[in-house]
Amino acid sequence: MISQCSLLVRIAISSSRIFYPRTNAWGLDIIAELPKEEFILKCTSACAGCSDSLALRYVLKAAGPDTVLVVPACCTSVIQGIYPNTAFNVPTYNVAFAAAAACASGMSNALRATGKKTNVIVYAGDGGTLDIGIQSLSGAFERGTDFLYICYDNEAYGNTGMQRSGGTPLGARTTTTPGGKKDTKKDIDAIVAAHDPPYMATACAAYPQDLFKKVQKALGFRGPSFIHLLAPCPPGWRFPTEKSVEMGRLAVKSGMWVLYEREYGKLTLGAQSKAALRKPVPLEEYLAPQGRFKGIDAKTVDELKQRLEKNLRKLAAEEEAGA
């Protein structure tokens, strides 16, 4: 007889089960208007200024209690705490690095087979999404799995101390690119878009209301949906912990990160990114505060600028063509 089921953690704090209205929260302008119920409790082992855990707080507020998280090896595996404790107040299934989307695929099928509508959300880092997990991600999307895949992107293997990933931008120093990355960031959004999911979006931890709305919207679709979330990382990007939100906003305002959503293939740029298209903040303002870009040469900065402009123009043209 198993007295202690394997790696099972019971939450010590009893969670009050309140009725959770499944309404669209359009028009939310201030954070205070977001639901009060917390699913990330005050005992995480996140680094100071961590925007991964900040974003997850809003993701779960949007998803509500009838949710299962599937988490591959990533910062979030650490943030939830060490057995026998957990800081997450929804069932959280940790699984091997490459396996998140496939695991969620089995979970979603099993839940739907037994008539349950529980949200299945993968919360995976850029390494687990762009690199080692891309096969299972592609398979789950191709098979039309009913789930939401959120890639929180801190642009390196943060959990293991900032090694380069496919998500690391050109020129950024990591522990495995000490001279700055020579290759450009992998365009995972284009790869996901090629699977033609009903809904996909980008988001940024610095815009919680936008993230909240997109998560609620994504969960309203049957089939696979994808949210690619920029998660500025103070120790990894080497900026002061109090500047996480500021860095996220600078990423968007400079056009380095573009906010948009694609619904049944139709793209809509976010207002913040439209503003960046018209009058971007100079890229240097985003790069300068970050230690990872220290010593970046002018040629690389120029290439980054050209690439971000090209990307913005391409997305704007796509929006216009679909209008």
Binding site: V68, A102, G106, G139
Partner: protein, 370 residues
């Protein structure tokens, strides 16, 4: 109901009757016929399962894990490279205490590509916490698969079970098959740690040095407890359906002075060699090891032991031979034969016994005649 079927079809028939809610699988020779047959059952609504046609074996096991933790019955099938590709997840399945049932059609590993029978694939999964049974006939493939669900899902076990059948020499041969109506032979699955949003919990998170070993011990304890569950399940199966199985299948061993030990189809074919030897006046018997994990209690006191391994651990020796030496504390004559489908006749097997050199090792086909 009596019919004629291949080993693969027999497995699929048993899966149909166990009716898992979720089946996730990826094709690989010589297993493919199992998943094709299951896909057909699902398409014809003979089987009301969700069949997830995953993009790899790693994902097949991951999908079974994700499904199983919700508390539903799951099944997959694989072979050889597919099994090794899912190796990370086979460890995860056992560690997560999920009663997943998998058929593995034993096949050699490349390079070079060889699609024929060998046990090295499953033996590389020995230490993962999976129960492993090796079958020898079409009927046994069916019976063992049915029993695997009940054993895996038993509250004293809650570990995954791998049913092993030899590639081609069993997966693709036709033999009579008597299917049964299992009725309540396999009770509904009640997974005590199934995910439940009403009772949120963390699964498989960070576990420190002061806790990790406890979970490892729990696996070993359940592995030990599974001995009784296997015994009881096989007894109940015999009572209900008339076919008796055990940890080993012993043939003419009572007064035997020399015993031949093997697994799978070679273990069954050995019985013909034993008859030949008996007709020559050699007091020989055979023991076909069915359950490799948990490892059976074997008693070879006073007998010469010849072990045929359809596998090898490079730099060490035949794996079954080694396990028998270690568990029984006796020297054996270790024969390496049948690798990658190498032909081994009854006469060859009889020769292994006739010309045994206890304590020695013999590579059939390499060292010439024994």
């Amino acid at each position: 109901m009596k019919k004629i079927a291949t080993g693969n079809k027999a497995v699929a028939e048993a899966v149909k009757q166990a009716a898992p809610e979720v089946i996730a699988a990826y094709p690989i020779t010589p297993q493919t016929e199992i998943v094709e047959q299951i896909a057909e059952f699902v398409t014809n609504s003979e089987l009301r399962s969700r069949y997830i046609p995953v993009e790899s074996e790693h994902s097949a096991m991951a999908a079974c894990i994700g499904a199983s933790i919700t508390g539903v019955r799951t099944f997959t099938a694989t072979s050889s490279h597919g099994l090794l590709y899912m190796h990370e997840m086979t460890n995860w399945a056992a560690g997560a205490r999920l009663p997943i049932v998998m058929a593995n059609v034993n096949r050699a590993l490349g390079p070079g590509w060889n699609i024929w029978a060998e046990h090295t694939d499953a033996l590389q999964e020995r230490d993962t916490g999976w129960l492993q049974v090796y079958v020898s006939t079409v009927q046994e493939a069916y019976d063992a698969t049915l029993m695997a669900f009940r054993i895996a899902e038993h509250e004293d076990v809650l570990l995954p079970v791998m049913v092993n059948l030899d590639g081609f020499t069993l997966s693709h041969i036709m033999q009579p098959l008597d299917t049964v109506e299992p009725g309540d032979f396999i009770p509904a699955l009640r997974l005590p740690h199934a995910i439940d949003p009403e009772n949120p919990a963390g699964y498989g998170g960070l576990t420190g040095p002061e806790q990790h070993f406890r979970f490892r011990w729990e696996i070993e304890r359940s592995m030990r407890d599974s001995v009784k569950v296997i015994h009881d399940t096989e007894e109940d199966f015999a009572r209900r359906f008339g076919r008796k199985y055990g940890f080993t299948e012993d043939y003419r061993c009572e007064d035997a002075e020399v015993v031949l030990v093997a697994m799978g189809t070679l273990g069954k074919e050995a019985e013909v060699a034993i008859d030949t030897l008996r007709s020559e006046g050699v007091k020989a018997g055979s023991v076909r090891v069915r359950w490799l994990r948990p490892f059976p209690a074997l008693d070879f006191k006073g007998k010469d032991v010849v072990v045929i391994d359809r596998d090898y651990s490079f730099g060490f020796g035949g794996i079954l031979a080694h396990e028998i030496r270690a568990k029984c504390g006796i020297p054996v004559f270790s024969v390496i034969a049948g690798l990658g489908g190498q032909e081994v006749t009854y006469e060859d097997i009889a020769d292994f016994v006739r010309k045994r050199r206890i304590g020695g090792e013999f590579w059939f086909g390499v060292n010439g005649h024994v």
